[in-house]
């Protein structure tokens, strides 16, 4: 219904602004409805202003800035309606180390506040070092996946061996 959608929009928008500031270490962002006044018809647009830059639509942001802004939306929806499991498949791929640190800080914080289990697939050594535990998947036999449990030193080597 229209009222529920409007409520969801307001709640997610609030979280989006909070999460954006945490991921970018400042700046401003907001969600807006476009193309129609009816929340059941309208489109969803993200306005983002990284710290020290002018507010713009997503188009003129960099590859990493866009990915971080879209991640802020995903997390805002998640925080509005937390689910028992959250899986992130190489969401940190386009990010530089400073953004990866803030990304990990936020996941840490979220995992303390909600009763959710996180599965995080990554190639970033920095993200690996922030996990509570690591699973490695190998294909010693070509085409056949095996699962091994790894500690961080092995994961470091793992990256090298890959």
């Amino acid at each position: 219904s229209r009222a529920r959608m409007k409520l969801a929009f307001d709640q997610v928008n609030l979280k989006f602004q909070e999460v954006f500031k945490k991921l970018f270490g400042g700046g401003e962002a907001e969600l807006i409805f476009v193309d129609s006044d009816d929340p059941l018809e309208a489109g969803l647009e993200m306005l983002a202003q990284p710290p020290g830059k002018k507010l713009k639509s997503m188009d003129s942001l960099s590859g990493g800035e866009k990915a971080l802004t879209a991640t802020a939306l995903i997390f805002a929806v998640f925080l509005t309606n937390p689910s028992p499991i959250c899986v992130l498949d190489e969401v940190d791929a386009p990010l530089d180390d400073a953004n990866v640190e803030r990304f990990c800080d936020l996941i840490d914080e979220m995992s303390e506040n909600v009763n959710t289990k996180f599965l995080i697939i990554t190639h970033h050594a920095l993200t690996m070092s922030r996990m509570d535990r690591l699973f490695g998947i190998t294909m010693q036999e070509k085409g056949v996946s095996q699962i091994v449990s790894v500690d961080l030193n092995t994961a470091e080597k793992f990256r090298k061996l890959a």
Binding site: D35, V77, S83, V87, L88, I120, I121, L134, E141
Partner: protein, 168 residues
């Protein structure tokens, strides 16, 4: 409901049966390109009742069954079980007496999928409802597939609105 374990056999590249326990907090999954990390996530979504073979990167639902390698023959079935802890007693009433709930999906070549909860045959819809009741499911926005962030960026605004419907 607490996601405890995932048991996979013959699903995509997981031809040897594996069992993963999902611990509290943050679990990292690492490994070289093509080793099976995204396949693992698909096994989870498949067990939760995913019906679109496109979102499983396949051309038909049978393609999730191990297709064989140079040294191993193809298999004729695939099966994934998701073990949930129901100590908090928040499952739908027909299963709420159970301490653990085991959701199993099995597909046999050319004869479709079948679902079971704790050994009893059930419909796909029942599985989907079980997970929807605890704000999750195969299409949950918190199961972020590889490349989905890029999709979200390049989507048109009215497609992007759909993510809000999950939060509503």
């Amino acid at each position: 409901m607490d996601f405890k374990k995932l048991r996979i056999s013959n699903f995509k590249s997981f031809v040897d049966p594996v069992e993963i326990s999902i611990g509290e907090g943050l679990t990292g999954v690492v490994g070289p390109n093509g080793c099976g990390k995204s396949n693992l996530v698909e096994a989870l979504r498949w067990a939760m009742g995913e019906t679109s073979y496109k979102s499983m990167r396949t051309n038909s639902m049978d393609d999730v069954i191990f297709a064989g390698t140079e040294n191993r023959p193809e298999r004729n079935f695939a099966e994934v079980s998701l073990v949930l802890d129901n100590r908090e007693r928040n499952a739908p009433k027909e299963y709420n007496n159970e301490e653990t709930i085991e959701v199993t999906r099995r597909v046999e070549r050319e004869s479709g999928s079948a679902y079971r909860i704790n050994g009893k045959d059930i419909r796909a819809r029942d599985v989907q409802m079980l997970f929807a009741d605890v704000s999750t499911g195969a299409r949950s926005p918190s199961l972020v597939r590889q490349g989905q962030i890029d999709e979200l960026i390049s989507q048109k605004p009215e497609q992007r609105r759909r993510i809000l419907e999950e939060a509503a």
